[in-house]
């Protein structure tokens, strides 16, 4: 569990300088802006940040699920050391999609085709990616997965509209698990569910993680619920990754001023301090400021903040803030680096 292992093992997922811009009528939206990120095997990273900060776009960029209005899509995405940005669409579809990376979508309510039986949809990836599997075997696996996520087997051959919201979400998780992928990306898997079902799903996810060693990327704005599952925490702000730390250190002491204020806004069970909020609004991604994007709302702002900070390495943690320039051991990634410490 110690962060020490992260330096030796090859990361499951690594992005370098990942960029995803969208074209809109108002201009280009810089949804994912030069993101450097890595996730080690068997770990779960929680990507947090407020709405519209580019969390979901980051997931889509990794999964290559691009909408029609893509403006720029560049950078490197390594999956088990292989640069998957190099693959053409057909290779990507056959070798990466669901074979190595699967997705539990934001609104699992609509993630199932309403006119196909649940069993067909859960078994489908197996039939696509494993040529040897027969239909019966695929259904057998689907049945197994249903048991795993806690949906009664009698629901296997039902239609999605016959299932409750929590069940559909679990079916979506079963679907994500069936090919035993290396990485599962969960995009706010519990945000539409009630608290009990949320807890239930989180337990299912924890169990799966212990038993299968799958890596997770959990995108959420629900810091409290996700903290149970997290090994690492990545904080996004205005399209950029501003902090990437192990969970233990992050939850005890976040580094980036934005992360600090974000954590101060999370309600705690005990203690009667008033919840804080962050004054101001995140900058528009249409035309973001050239320096640090949080500078306008930051209480620690100084002259240096007019320049774009790189990701500083502080121990094993990475933080995109000039405050850590002094204590940093170096700079991480391939940022368009403004020279540091000359």
């Amino acid at each position: 569990m110690s962060a020490q292992s992260s330096t030796s093992a090859q990361p499951v997922l690594k992005t370098e300088d990942l960029v995803l811009y969208f074209r809109t009528t108002k201009g280009v939206v810089q949804a994912v802006d030069h993101v450097d990120f890595e996730l080690d095997e068997g770990r779960a990273v929680v990507v947090i940040g407020e709405s519209g900060c580019g969390k979901t776009s980051f997931a889509k960029a990794v999964l290559r699920l691009l909408p029609r209005n893509v403006d720029t899509y560049t950078g490197r995405v390594y999956l088990d050391g292989e640069d998957i940005m190099e693959l053409d669409d057909e290779e990507f579809r056959l070798r990466i999609r669901w074979a190595k990376m699967s997705l539990v979508p934001q609104a699992a309510m609509n993630a199932l085709n309403p006119v196909l039986r649940v069993s067909d949809q859960v078994a489908e990836p197996l039939l696509i990616h494993d040529r040897q599997v027969t239909k019966e075997e695929a259904f057998e696996r689907a049945r197994e997965m249903f048991g795993y996520v806690g949906v009664p087997e009698s629901f296997l051959h039902r239609y999605p509209f016959e299932l409750s919201g929590g069940m559909r979400q679990r079916v979506a998780i079963a679907m994500a698990l069936i090919t035993r992928p290396r990485l599962i990306i969960l995009d706010e898997p519990t945000s539409a569910l009630d608290v009990l079902t949320q807890a239930n799903i989180m337990n299912v996810l924890k169990k799966i993680k212990w038993e299968t060693g799958t890596s997770y990327m959990l995108i959420t704005h629900d810091v409290a619920t996700s903290s149970e599952l997290a090994d690492d925490v990545a904080v996004m702000y205005a399209g950029q990754m501003v902090e990437n730390s192990d969970a233990e250190s992050f939850f005890s002491e976040p580094l980036h001023p934005y992360a600090k204020m974000l954590m101060a806004a999370v309600p705690k069970l005990r203690g009667d301090e008033e919840l804080e909020f962050i004054p101001g609004q995140p900058p528009s991604l249409l035309n973001p400021p050239s320096g640090c994007r949080f500078a306008d709302r930051c209480p620690f702002r100084f002259e240096k903040c007019d320049e774009d900070p790189p990701l500083f390495l502080v121990g094993d943690r990475k933080v995109k803030c000039w405050l850590f320039e002094k204590e940093a051991q170096g700079v991480y990634g391939t940022q368009p680096a403004v020279a540091t410490g000359d």
Binding site: P114, V115, E124, P125, S154, H157
Partner: protein
């Protein structure tokens, strides 16, 4: 379905009870549906009878026509002219009364309207007022039936060809959203604001009058070819212009709307999931876009086919096409109520039948449509 539910005994007992009640519900649903549709047909046909008779005013027109005809006929009789005026008036009144009794015009309109309704609903379409069929019959049934094939050949063929073509192009464009072809179709869609006959006139001017390569109208050459194959080819040759006119007037707007329809459905979450799952793009189109939208596609096709049956009066007139549309056009001009009512009755029955079939097809195609109230075990 029951085979899968063998996991637990409680589910099994529920299951065993279900098929029976499903059939019962299906039967009840069918009966209720048929009765409702029949009531709709009755109301529709009765309204047509009222309208085609102008609420009884057509009777007045016919009465004065009868009086005029009898007066003219009697005027030509020298013996009649020799009578004194009161006698002449009496003779005319007497003959008018006989003729009106023969035609049933002596009874009040309300009574006769229900007689019409009964005849219409039992498909006893009766005899026309003035019109004759192409073979010389006064039977409304024959007048309509003899024209039916011509309409079906032209409009049926065009409808099927156009529909298939439209869906194909629309799918292609939804795949290539924003391409120059896509923008071309969108830009040309206002062309569909003009009806087919409008383009027909221009096409006739260009291809028949000016270039002289296609016929002005009609269904076959005069005299018609003896050889059946050459006859078919000749009909096809005469169909080129009408089909071009129909295509021009409808294809752009329908491609535009279907393409938009497919675009909306291809941004559903489950389509994106299918993509993330690595489903082949063709399979996505088939299973995740076409399959869920099948009910809409079927409805649109079925309603299009019903529309075809009646032909298009003005369109057939422009192209001199001997179809039902023209019969109806003539019947309206001649106040030939039995023909108008006859055509409407058949149309109403066809519409009801189609709606009924659609209900059944829906239940088969879309699992969300559960029969009879939708409470499932």
């Amino acid at each position: 379905m029951a085979e899968h539910e063998s996991s637990s005994s409680t589910v099994q007992t529920q299951k065993r009870a279900r098929p029976q009640s499903t059939w019962e519900r299906l039967l009840r649903y069918t009966v209720v549906r048929l009765v409702t549709l029949f009531i709709t047909v009755v109301i529709g046909v009765y309204l047509t009878i009222l309208i085609a008779n102008m609420g009884g005013y057509v009777d007045e027109i016919r009465r004065s026509q009868i009086r005029e005809q009898i007066a003219i006929r009697l005027q030509n009789d020298p013996a009649f002219r020799a009578l004194p005026p009161e006698e002449r008036q009496k003779r005319i009144d007497a003959e008018v009364a006989v003729e009106e009794k023969r035609l049933g015009l002596d009874k009040p309109f309300l009574v006769r309207s229900f007689n019409y309704l009964k005849h219409a609903l039992t498909l006893d379409l009766g005899r026309s007022e003035n019109m004759t069929s192409d073979s010389g019959s006064r039977q409304v049934r024959l007048i309509l039936l003899e024209r039916l094939p011509a309409t079906l050949v032209l409009f049926g063929t065009s409808q099927i060809v156009l529909f298939a073509l439209t869906l194909y192009i629309a799918l292609y464009l939804s795949r290539h959203y924003g391409s120059w072809l896509d923008r071309l179709f969108v830009a040309l869609s206002p062309l569909s604001s003009a009806p087919g006959w409008f383009y027909g006139i221009f096409l006739i001017i260009v291809f028949a009058a000016w270039l002289k390569i296609l016929p002005f109208g009609g269904m076959v050459s005069v005299p018609p070819p003896e050889n059946p194959i050459r006859y078919a080819l000749d009909v096809a040759y005469h169909m080129i212009l009408p089909m071009m006119a129909m295509t021009l007037s409808s294809i752009f707007i329908s491609v535009y709307s279907w393409r938009t329809f497919f675009l909306i459905f291809s941004s559903e979450d489950y389509v994106e999931m299918a993509k993330a799952k690595g489903v082949h793009p063709r399979a996505i189109e088939r299973r995740y876009i076409l399959r869920p939208t099948l009910p809409t596609i079927i409805t649109s096709f079925a309603l299009g086919v019903i529309g075809v049956w009646m032909g298009a009066p003005i369109f057939e007139t422009i192209f001199n096409w001997p179809g039902l549309g023209r019969v109806l056009f003539q019947a309206v001009q001649l106040f030939d109520t039995p023909v108008i009512v006859g055509a409407t009755v058949i149309f109403a029955y066809l519409l009801a039948l189609t709606v009924f079939l659609l209900d059944i097809i829906y239940a088969i195609v879309d699992p969300r449509v559960s029969v009879g109230g939708g409470q499932r075990a």
